[in-house]
Symmetry: C2
Subunit: 366 residues, 2 copies
């Protein structure tokens, strides 16, 4: 039989109906038609999905393992998502819980091209936890964002990313903003000696994102950010392949709205598609992810399968300076601590506050 | 003040906390940082989102209206989704319920380029409900899919679409399949005299989808299908603009997994981005959409705003011949009835069964 891989769904059901429901998912995610209408033997044996396991998890929830034929994915990342959850996403009794990605697909999609070790190498930081902040608010002209970028750089941060709201708006066009911010970070780096990385956010369609990535590269940058659930997995894959020198940071915009377990989608699938680093809503901030979800997500990102590189987890969304020790204790040192809005509250003392933050991360990483 | 548009969220909350929660959404979907840290007056007055209304819907659910600045969208369809739901998608107490799309954005995105009237014109069918079926299962070689396409065409269908599982797999490469199926449909049309349309499904990244759309055009086809939630809104917009002669059919793959009301996402936003026709899970089939959701979705697609064209609703997912009258009575005649798997159950009698279907639609459309 040709290669299959196992997709695990959590399904609400009863002992009486779960077998039929599982068989329904197996058909929906493969041939999507009555089996009685299929005459081709190869399709029946090789393409139709198969129920591999049903486990009662209690409380009316079952873990259902479905074997899908790798051949149905073709070579496309979007089709991969389509095959594992496309139509079944329309059934609200189902969560996509896990995918045992086969080596055929890890080789096809390639995973992080750089990962934690290369990010550490670029920053000459073999050990301590990493630091980051964000340029915001959108609406500021590029020169104001650049001033902020310089202040933050002078505070000694490792990474400064565009807020995900910064796109290519009238008030700060991409090229102008990236050029101004890259220059500002370079000025800051000259004064600190620390090789802070600026991460612009790519938006638009593939043509536009490709042009933006080229702008970033021409400005001497080696990191970019994108939102896989907004641009699509296929777009992401194209960019990851075309810009091999770039480290890709994945933003979770729109990722929470899907009934896909975050530890799978953000922790496992974003890295599979080439994310060197994944930003996610850390527990205890503005978003509701549990400690357990955050721990599993970070573990998935850092301990991938089939020889893929490790991706850097970035808990974000309401982090504060006071939580530095707690966050490092929880996630460990292969983590970027990202404080955005809360650093900006320091207003004119932004550089000093940033220094406090970077110092705290250094201290607690010992 | 610069232009704003209203986004409506349904939020689970209490009378005591809903105002703070609404303000939280207004900030999250605009500047995403503490307002106290913003010094720029323009940003505070023009960019920060505003709470416009809070209505208690009962049962612990509130309708919250937030005014967002149109300027934050820039010119990009992906950024539009990012602005209306990006980070808030990460909060599971919120559903995106509606968007009052302003004229600036309807003009920018353009809506259906053809819509119902042009589809009717192409088919020379001013009145009756429209019919469709799907080529499946995936796994069949292209020549078998083509034989099926000819049988279905000889049954007098209006539209024959690729199943959304058909991508560019080893067992039926896109070009070969589309070429074979287009020729088969042409043979069928020659015998029936009815101008049946074949709708290939586009997959991959923008470059690949663009090449596929060009193949379709070169085969003389004027309809294609794509899944907006897989390829991304920005990709869809690029294709809609580049292939003005093509009518675009939107497939709902991955659209159910998002906490966005289907009548908004499929009924309103897919057409806004250029879908001439929207396929959705009809009530009473394999999927769980209610009659009310289906009615609202179809109404949104057909009665758009700001002078956009009407998009053709296509209830699907488990339709049967026996339900023809019921479906036409419920949705009216500006509807395509799509029966996929259930027609295929007729096996060698597929053409006759298809004729029964097309005749029934004609009869009940009187």
């Amino acid at each position: 039989m040709s290669e299959r891989f196992t997709v695990t769904y959590h399904v609400r059901g009863t002992a009486a109906n779960i077998e039929a429901r599982a068989q329904g998912i197996a058909v929906e995610q493969s041939v999507e038609m009555p089996l009685a209408a299929i005459r081709n033997e190869m399709v029946l044996s090789e393409i139709v999905g198969s129920v591999e396991s049903i486990d009662d998890l209690g409380n009316g929830v079952f873990a259902v393992g479905i074997g899908l034929a790798t051949a149905t994915v073709g070579q496309d990342a979007g089709q991969f998502l389509n095959m594992v959850f496309g139509n079944t996403s329309l059934h609200d009794d189902v969560i996509l819980k896990d995918v045992a990605v086969p080596q055929t697909l890890t080789q096809l999609f390639g995973g992080p091209r750089h990962g934690i070790s290369e990010l550490r190498f670029r920053l000459k930081l073999p050990e301590r936890a990493l630091t980051g902040s964000a340029l915001k608010p959108q609406g500021l002209p590029s020169e104001d964002l650049a001033i902020l970028a310089e202040h933050l750089t002078r505070g000694g941060l490792d990474f400064i990313k565009d807020d995900h709201g910064l796109a290519d708006q009238q008030y700060s066009r991409f090229s102008e903003r990236v050029s101004a911010c890259a220059a500002a970070v370079t000025r800051g780096v000259r004064s600190t000696g620390h090789p802070t990385r600026y991460i612009p956010s790519l938006t638009g369609n593939l043509d536009q994102m490709r042009a933006q990535a080229a702008v970033a590269r021409d400005e001497g940058l080696d990191c970019v950010m994108l939102a896989p659930m907004v641009c699509g997995f296929s777009t992401m894959q194209a960019l990851v392949c075309e810009f091999p020198e770039m480290a890709f940071f994945a933003h979770p915009s729109m990722a929470g709205a899907v009934r896909i377990a975050p530890e799978l989608l953000i922790g496992k699938l974003f890295p599979l598609m080439g994310a060197d680093s994944v930003i996610f809503p850390g527990y205890g901030g503005r978003f509701g992810y549990s400690r357990e979800t955050c721990r599993d997500l970070a573990a998935n990102a850092r301990h991938p399968y089939s020889g893929l590189k490790s991706a850097l987890p970035v808990p974000a969304g309401g982090m504060t300076l006071e939580r530095t020790k707690e966050i490092i204790d929880f996630y460990g040192k292969d983590t970027m601590l990202l404080i955005g809005g809360n650093l900006l509250l320091a207003r004119e003392d932004i550089t000093k506050e940033t220094e406090r933050f970077t110092r705290a991360v250094g201290d607690f990483s010992l």
